[in-house]
C-alpha cells in the first residue's frame, strides 16, 4: 500500500525543528529520522501522520562522543557507525557485536540508534542496551529539556515517555568500569529478523568475583528489562559455568513470555535460558578490539 498524504517539513536547525514540531504535533505531526520503522508502518497505514518533520538535514545532530563518564549518541547517528568500535574497551566491542544483529546492512545505513529507542519495539537491541546499562534519554521541546532514565522512558510495546512535541536529541550511556565485562546474545530464525529472545549482561570482575551484575532480557515481554533473580544468583560469585547456568535458569523462570502458536511460551523460556548463558560466556571470553 501507499502512505496517506502528509505535509513534509525539512528544518535546518534544532530550534526550527522544535518550533515546527510544536505547531504540527496536534495535527498528527511526527519526527522522521531513518524512516526504517516509520515508513513501513505508513505503507501499511498503521500510522497516518499529517505532517513529517525530517531531522536528517539538521547539522550537529549526528554527534557521537565521550563526555565525562558517558557515551553520547546524537539523534542522527546511524546503526552502521557501530560496525567498527566507536569507543575503546568492552563497550565499543559490545556495540559492534550488537549492531550486527540490528536489521540488515542497508537498513543500518539509514536507521538511527535514537530512532530505535523512540520506536521502542520489544525486540529492539538498542532498547535492551539502554535498559540494561541504565542509559538516559535527553528530549527537547519548545517547553524545555528533560532527561529521562531508561526505566521511566519505556512504557510498553512501542510506547515511550516522549511527548508529541518532543524530540529525542541524544542518548547517554554510562561508560563501564575498566574491570567491566559485557556480553550479548540473541536468537532469531533468519538473519536480520527481529529476535525471539536476547540477553545482555554486564559485570565488573574484581579479584575473580562478579560485582555490580546486570542481566537484561529483551524480545520476550512488552519491554526489555533487568532480571533481578538472575543478577542475585551471580552477584559476588565466581564466574563458573555452573553459576552461569543457574542464573540462566533463574532468568527463564522470571520472565513472563506471551504464548503464541508459532512461538510458545515454553520455547521462549528455553531461548531466554540459552541467550543468558551464552551472553555470560561471551562476556567472560571476549577479547577486546583495537581501535583503528
Amino acid at each position: 500500500m501507499k502512505p496517506v498524504a502528509f505535509e513534509y517539513h525539512s528544518p535546518h536547525s534544532l530550534d526550527e525543528a522544535l518550533a515546527t514540531l510544536a505547531r504540527v504535533a496536534p495535527l498528527e505531526g511526527r519526527v522522521i529520522a531513518g524512516g526504517q520503522s516509520l515508513v513501513p508502518a505508513m505503507a501499511f497505514r498503521l500510522v497516518r501522520p499529517g505532517h513529517l518533520v525530517d531531522i536528517n538535514g539538521i547539522a550537529g545532530l549526528d554527534h557521537l562522543r565521550v563526555e565525562a563518564d558517558e557515551l553520547v549518541i546524537g539523534a542522527c547517528v546511524r546503526h552502521a557507525i557501530f560496525h567498527r568500535p566507536v569507543v575503546a574497551g568492552v563497550l565499543g566491542r559490545a556495540l559492534t557485536d550488537i549492531a550486527a544483529h540490528v536489521a540488515h546492512y542497508p537498513i543500518r545505513m539509514r536507521g538511527t540508534f535514537c530512532g530505535s529507542l523512540a520506536q521502542a519495539d520489544p525486540a529492539s537491541e538498542w532498547c535492551l542496551l539502554a535498559m540494561t546499562l541504565g542509559a538516559r534519554m535527553i528530549v527537547r521541546s519548545v517547553r524545555g529539556e528533560r532527561s529521562i532514565p531508561a526505566h521511566a522512558f519505556f512504557q510498553g510495546v512501542m510506547s515511550t515517555d516522549i511527548q508529541p512535541d518532543e524530540l529525542l536529541t541524544e542518548v547517554r550511556i554510562p561508560l563501564p568500569h575498566a574491570q567491566a565485562r559485557i556480553g550479548f546474545d540473541e536468537f532469531s530464525r533468519r538473519r536480520g529478523d527481529f529476535a525471539l529472545a536476547m540477553a545482555l549482561v554486564q559485570f565488573d570482575l574484581l579479584d575473580g568475583r562478579m560485582k555490580a551484575v546486570r542481566v537484561g532480557v529483551g524480545a520476550v515481554e512488552a519491554t526489555a528489562r533487568r532480571i533481578e533473580a538472575a543478577e542475585q544468583t551471580l552477584e559476588g560469585g565466581m564466574p563458573t559455568m555452573d553459576r552461569f547456568q543457574a542464573a540462566a535458569r533463574a532468568a527463564a523462570q522470571a520472565v513472563d513470555p506471551s504464548d503464541q502458536p508459532q512461538v510458545p511460551a515454553v520455547y521462549r523460556r528455553e531461548l531466554v535460558e540459552s541467550c543468558v548463558r551464552r551472553a555470560l560466556e561471551r562476556a567472560l571470553s571476549a577479547t577486546l578490539p583495537k581501535l583503528p
Binding site: K2, A5, V39, P40, H104, Y105, P106, I107, M109
Partner: protein
C-alpha cells in the same frame, strides 16, 4: 499536493513533480521511467528496491523522493558503460547468479556498493551484507560466488 523535486540519478538530472508521500522507488519507476529498480514487498524486507544513495546501499521503498533531493543516486541502469557490462553484471552471467531476475537489480546495487568500497568487506562481512536481500530462485550460492569473483576482478583492473 505535488511539488517539484529534482533527482540526480546516474549523473542525469530528472525534474519531476510528486507528492511528499511518493517513495524514491516509485519516483524512479513512475516519474523517471527507470523501471530497472524493482519493488517486491514495499516495506523493507526483500531488498529488491536497493539503490545506492551517496555511496551507501539503501531501500528505495523506505525513503521518500523529497528526501533524496540533492543526493547522488545510482540505479541498475547506470552500471553498464554503453555495451560493456559492469564486472559484477558479467560475473552474474558467468556464475549463473540469476534465474527469473526479479531480485537481481537489488543484489547488483547492494553488491556494487560493497565491492567498490575503499575498504572492501572481508568474507564474513560480505555474507552478512548479502543476507539483506531475498532471492527465491538461486539459493544464493551463485550470487555469493559472482560477487566474490567480481570483487577480485574489480581490484585487478
Amino acid at each position: 499536493m505535488k511539488q517539484p523535486i529534482t533527482l540526480q540519478v546516474n549523473q542525469n538530472t530528472y525534474d519531476i513533480e510528486a507528492e511528499p508521500r511518493r517513495t524514491l522507488a516509485d519516483a524512479l519507476r513512475e516519474d523517471c521511467g527507470l523501471t530497472g529498480t524493482h519493488l517486491g514487498c514495499e516495506h523493507g524486507v526483500c531488498g529488491a528496491c536497493t539503490v545506492i544513495v551517496d555511496g551507501d546501499p539503501m531501500r528505495a521503498c523506505l525513503m521518500f523522493a523529497v528526501q533524496a533531493e540533492g543526493r547522488a543516486i545510482r540505479t541498475v541502469e547506470g552500471l553498464a558503460a554503453g555495451a560493456t557490462l559492469h564486472p559484477l553484471q558479467q560475473a552474474f552471467i558467468d556464475h549463473h547468479a540469476l534465474q527469473c531476475g526479479f531480485c537481481t537489480a537489488g543484489f547488483l546495487m547492494l553488491a556494487t556498493s560493497l565491492i567498490e568500497r575503499a575498504d572492501p568487506p572481508d568474507d564474513q562481512e560480505l555474507l552478512d551484507a548479502l543476507s539483506s536481500n531475498l532471492c527465491r530462485c538461486t539459493g544464493y550460492k551463485n550470487i555469493v560466488n559472482a560477487v566474490r569473483a567480481a570483487s577480485v576482478a574489480l581490484r585487478q583492473r
